[in-house]
């Protein structure tokens, strides 16, 4: 056994450790430790046990190290949970608070939601200071990121609805209190982070220009497609995307980033390598912040960044290594996303599916669908792979799956590499010369119209989706174990190579 262990490379050991820690953090939800002191004592004991064993029992060290890492994961989750657990506050009481808007306002039909970090408790318990509160108020006047406001209202805890745990949902954003129908007044402006302030300004102006160029629902759709804004897309269109299994195109994800990076590469072909790398990383970071630091965008951007880095140093980077590392970082930053962020789960499963399953589908399609253009075969195998990998989670959370998804994806995905660069071109021109932007907007409109038309028509089909209820974790585990075994079997049989970020 130990002979085998010595064959493992450094990076593989690293991955295993990361995975064990993630597992530990995952199970931390079920093994509850309610006292910080206990956590500290445990941590010290662990270090001692580790030192003793590494002195006397060298052979077993690895196993103990694994155990300790797992245990650290458990402790870390509990420590984090205690850290963010809200202080006791008299709920349902009228409060008056002052705080800074730390994220862009979320504008709804007639209301606006603000995330406010409390700096001053005017008429409330001081416990609330430095906590985050979700404030709902009338749409006008509009507030911005970095504004300091004073507001009055009744402070409450978010509710659990029948089909949606609002409390859990908000907890992952570190929000435990809400104030509905607040009365607010502006105290000061521009007090946020200077960089964020400017990026959000650019975002707001971009979104505005798109709204001036295109009619609804195309403007909202495009704002979702390239700026990550999901508000304003009419419910019937969202439903159509869900029913046809294409809602991933309105959430910016790996596909979008891959398209952007590809065009970036073509554009910078003749530029010096180092500059391409530095500008690329800067651009990706900018885009991440611009689109609101969603897990799918962050994941895809780090992946793309690693790709640029690997090219820069002339080495190959394995997709899975990078992926696990990203997951590790994101979970470390906020362990709650492991349980409460469906987007996080889906986005990682989808990429893993594409990495491991698409080579199998490619084999199949290359054999039997030879007459189809390669790009369409690639789309088909990626869609199938992602869908198989994410199916149980989708059923668990949404109670339905789409069966015509591959067909619809096949029809609309080829439009993305055309519409995304065109939209960016239109957006850039909207700041320079509005007439040129208007001309481009006609082309953009045609393609968007096509995408929405196709999804709408297909969603009307009776067979487009099946409703299934599934809630047992045993069934889900069983599904994934079988899936892993199948992948393992076929990989052995066809000697499929590991995927590198190079190709």
């Amino acid at each position: 056994m130990f002979k085998q262990l010595s064959k493992i490379t450094k990076s593989q050991i690293f991955i295993v450790f990361e995975l064990i820690l993630i597992a530990g953090i995952f199970f931390g939800k079920y093994i509850i430790i309610d006292n910080t002191d206990v956590i500290y004592v445990f941590s010290i004991i662990l270090i001692f046990v580790f030192l003793i064993f590494s002195f006397y029992q060298k052979e077993l060290t690895i196993i103990f190290v694994c155990g300790i890492i797992f245990f650290s994961g458990l402790l870390y989750y509990n420590w984090f949970r205690i850290k963010i657990t809200p202080p006791k506050i008299e709920l349902g009481s009228e409060v008056e608070l002052e705080g800074i808007i730390y994220e862009e306002p979320d504008e709804k039909e007639t209301k606006t939601q603000l995330k406010v970090n409390i700096t001053n408790a005017i008429e409330a318990n001081d416990n609330i200071i430095s906590r985050n509160v979700l404030v709902t108020l009338e749409k006008y006047p509009q507030y911005k990121y970095g504004d300091i406001i004073q507001f009055k209202g009744e402070i409450e805890e978010p509710q659990k609805f029948e089909d949606f745990d609002y409390k859990n949902y908000l907890s992952r954003y570190n929000i435990f209190y809400i104030v509905k129908n607040a009365k607010a007044s502006l105290i000061d402006i521009n007090r946020g982070n200077l960089l964020l302030n400017n990026i959000y300004k650019i975002k707001a102006r971009s979104a505005n220009n798109i709204r001036r160029l295109l009619p609804e629902p195309f403007a909202s759709f495009l704002n979702g497609l390239i700026l990550g804004l999901r508000r304003g897309i009419p419910q019937n269109i969202l439903d159509a995307f869900n029913a046809t299994g294409t809602s991933h195109i309105i959430a910016i994800s790996g596909l979008h980033i891959a398209i952007l990076v590809k065009y970036y590469q073509i554009f910078t072909k003749r530029w010096p390598q180092k500059m391409v790398f530095i500008l690329g990383i800067a651009g990706l970071s900018f885009y991440c912040i611009l689109t609101g630091l969603r897990s799918s965008v962050v994941r895809a951007s780090i992946l793309a960044g690693s790709f640029l880095f690997a090219r820069q140093i002339g080495r190959k980077a394995s997709v899975v290594n990078v992926l696990v590392f990203i997951a590790f970082l994101m979970v470390l930053q906020n362990p709650l996303i492991l349980h409460y962020d469906i987007g996080f789960q889906l986005s990682f499963l989808a990429v893993l599916g594409i990495v491991y399953l698409s080579p199998l589908f490619n084999l199949l399609f290359n054999k039997y669908l030879n007459f189809v253009p390669k790009i369409l075969r690639d789309i088909l195998s990626a869609t199938f792979s992602a869908q198989i990998a994410t199916m149980p989670i989708i059923i668990l959370n949404f109670g339905q799956i789409s069966i015509i998804s591959p067909v619809v994806n096949l029809l609309i995905l080829p439009a993305l590499p055309i519409v995304i660069p065109l939209s960016f071109l239109m957006l850039i021109f909207s700041f320079i010369n509005f007439t040129i932007a208007k001309c481009i907007s006609i082309l953009v409109w045609i393609i968007l119209k096509y995408i929405i038309y196709i999804t709408n028509e297909f969603s009307k089909l009776q067979i487009s989706k099946i409703n299934i209820a599934l809630s047992s974790w045993q069934a889900i585990s069983f599904y994934y174990i079988i899936l892993v075994l199948i992948i393992y079997f076929f990989q052995k049989k066809y000697k499929l190579k590991q995927k590198y970020l190079y190709d």
Binding site: E109, T110, P141, R211, R212, P215, F218, I442, I446
Partner: protein, 295 residues
């Protein structure tokens, strides 16, 4: 070899040209399908509990009367206007209540607006102030109208203002509804009366001032059919063939009121409602007219 290369290049160029022609063809067809007919089109938009009416003349001059609550009007306008048209020539605000002004904020942000028409009755409500701020920011010319004024949309289509008959500047107004712009849109022999939220008091005075001019084929019922605007005499003088009530489904005010519905039926007018019929479209060639409803 060189010839071959040349041939390849030629091939690529042909492909580009073909691609371009394809896009051009799609474009032309898109424009053809979006081409407006040679009629006056009036849309009573389904914006919920509020008023919003979009008018488009044969010369493609357009006017939006009120914007309803929320921003539903944006989505409705997208259906009524051709996709390339991002300009609205006239926006008319009857009075500064939320269910008339709110939607206009988003409209003004998104469209190029030629002129905003309103009265000098003001309100301190948040959305009305935002509306004024944005008009200022975008430097849009405004015009305050009084009874007798005429707005010429194009050579054949005009909007004549019947109300208000006095200035509200520096006056305290007890009921903003009675400051509503009331007026008649005429296209050759076809007339539509728009009455904002004007209630009985205002209706009485309008009758005194413009008794002979009120007669219209279509009547946009005052104040969403509230019981405060049901003056029987007013309806008799207008003598509408179709009355349109802009009202939200299951609204909390209980609009429209039964007395009004009875009065309209007694008068022999057909009733169309945005809650039951959704968006209502009236098309006229200047002599006759016909209606299309979404539901």
């Amino acid at each position: 070899m060189i010839k071959n290369k040349f041939k390849n290049k030629k091939n690529i160029i042909t492909k580009y040209i073909l691609g371009f022609l394809l896009i051009f063809a799609i474009l032309v067809w898109a424009l053809v399908f979006e081409k407006p007919d040679n009629n006056l089109n009036i849309y009573f938009l389904d914006v919920g509990q509020g008023d919003s009416i979009y008018i488009r003349t044969i010369n493609n001059i357009d006017m939006l009367i009120d914007g309803g609550p929320g921003s539903k009007v944006i989505y409705e306008l997208a259906n009524a206007m051709p996709f390339y048209d991002r300009k609205i020539d006239f926006i008319l605000l009857t009075h500064p209540h939320s269910d008339h002004v709110s939607g206009l904020i988003e409209v003004i942000k998104r469209f190029d607006v030629g002129q905003v028409i309103l009265t000098d009755a003001t309100s301190s409500s948040k959305d009305y102030l935002e509306f004024l701020t944005i008009i200022n920011q975008k430097n849009i010319p405004t015009k305050i109208v009084r009874s007798g004024d005429e707005i010429h949309l194009d050579n054949h289509t005009k909007f004549k203002v019947f109300w208000p008959n006095s200035s509200y500047k520096d006056k305290s107004v007890t009921n903003l509804n009675n400051t509503s712009i009331v007026g008649k849109l005429s296209y050759y022999d076809f007339d539509v009366l728009f009455s904002g939220d004007a209630e009985d008091e205002a209706q009485k005075e309008i009758i005194e001032l413009f008794k002979d001019e009120l007669d219209s084929e279509i009547y946009k019922v005052a104040h969403h059919g509230s019981k405060n605007g049901v003056l029987e005499e007013f309806i008799n003088i207008i003598n509408p063939e179709i009355s349109i009530i802009c009202v939200g489904d299951k609204n909390r005010f209980g609009h429209p009121h039964q007395i009004l519905l009875d009065n309209l039926t007694k008068q022999g007018s057909k009733i169309l409602r945005t809650d039951a019929n959704s968006t209502i479209k009236i098309i006229s060639d200047g002599q006759s007219y016909w209606t299309k409803t979404r539901k």
